[in-house]
């Protein structure tokens, strides 16, 4: 059951919560939308602007049972089309959309807070927070003074393009701005789902081990930048920074690295410089 309004939140239903000034400590009065998966059996049609469906190719094999209908459709087509719609929306409004991915506890939200508060960043920032449950991260981001939307994925383990599309309708990010999307803390599933972002940034902290890229290769393969966080802890750990980088480079030849500490601010300028260089 949904803990916001008491309605039944079924299998893969997700919730979008707009964090507002007067009530961000009170979940009962959040403005929210629910999206519930539709029943596959009912009659419905899906208009998809921007492309046309080709009629399926039909084969009749008299010797075999049944008719074969060729489909040749990507299983992720629905997500990928929506991601492209998001990408077009971001391009038209000159929004730099960054998808932040990592395992839980790598410091995504702290990096985000420090990024928003950085004086080096000139662009207006808005944020979409993704978590399975709670509005804690959105509440932290809201405290920095920026507009934020929380997506609670319910039973889902990742954000998808439709969730981001729905969140953008609520958020309405301004033109020439930076949209930071904090994905669900999970190094596996979010790798598969294009959100329409301009760049994907994977965060790994030095407490996690140098073999993270080898254990979760798809996330490192699909990311443009790797932020290595908590470098202030290096003197206390047996951690080989260069080995982590060579492991990640084996998976993704083109990945860029930025070493930083969100706590001390060391290396943080390189990250904000990178963001500024991508905003135009």
């Amino acid at each position: 059951m949904c803990d916001t309004c008491g309605c039944n939140d079924n299998n893969s239903g997700y919730t979008i919560l707009k964090i507002q000034d007067h009530d961000h400590h009170n979940e009962d009065h959040q403005e929210h939308d629910h999206n519930h998966p539709h029943n596959h059996d009912h009659h419905h049609s899906h208009p998809h602007p921007g492309h046309e469906h080709q009629p399926e190719h039909i084969h009749q094999h008299p010797e075999s049972r049944g008719r074969i209908i060729e489909i040749e459709k990507d299983a992720l087509q629905k997500n990928n089309l929506m991601a492209q719609r998001n990408r077009g929306y971001f391009d038209a409004k000159n929004i730099l959309a960054v998808n932040l991915v990592s395992s839980p506890g790598s410091g995504k939200t702290t990096i985000l807070e420090k990024t928003i508060l950085s004086k080096d960043l000139k662009k207006k920032v808005t944020v979409i927070e993704g978590d399975q449950q709670t509005i804690s991260d959105a509440t932290r981001i809201h405290a920095t003074g920026v507009q934020v939307i929380q997506i609670n994925t319910g039973n889902g383990c990742h954000l998808d393009a439709l969730m981001v599309h729905s969140a953008c309708k609520e958020l309405n990010p301004p033109e020439n701005s930076l949209l930071m999307i904090e994905n669900v803390g999970n190094l596996i599933c979010p790798a598969m789902f294009d959100l329409g972002e301009s760049f994907r940034v994977v965060i790994v902290s030095v407490t996690e081990g140098e073999d993270k890229p080898l254990k979760y290769p798809y996330m490192f393969q699909t990311s443009d930048v790797c932020l290595i966080n908590k470098i202030d802890l290096l003197p206390h750990l047996d951690f080989d920074l260069e080995r982590l980088k060579s492991n990640a480079a084996r998976i993704n030849h083109h990945i860029e690295f930025i070493d930083l500490s969100a706590k001390t601010g060391e290396g943080f300028g390189k990250w904000t410089d990178w963001l500024e260089s991508k905003c135009c």
Partner: protein, 113 residues
Amino acid sequence: MHEFSIALDIVEIAVETAKANNAKTVNEVEIDVGEMSGVIYEALEFALQSAIKGTILENSKFRLNRIKAKAICNKCKHDFEPTDVMSVCTSCGSSDISLVRGKEMKVKSINID
């Protein structure tokens, strides 16, 4: 468990096609899954068993074709079959390679009556 979301998408594509072609039953659904698609075959098969409940696919057979990966080296242009995501060029050892096959996750066809 992203395989469950993918299974729901596969079922939706197959059900829509079956309805559009006035299928009474769907005998088989054929799916191409690349070795480098990031999907665990067994997890997908398991997820499909839940995703088909209450749909026209409830008694359908699922045929999963495993598609072998193929890559081309961007340095020496050698093409080869990578064994995993960490594979480097088997000729020059470069990690700058492009996958040209093996990321597929495609509903190929359905067999209907």
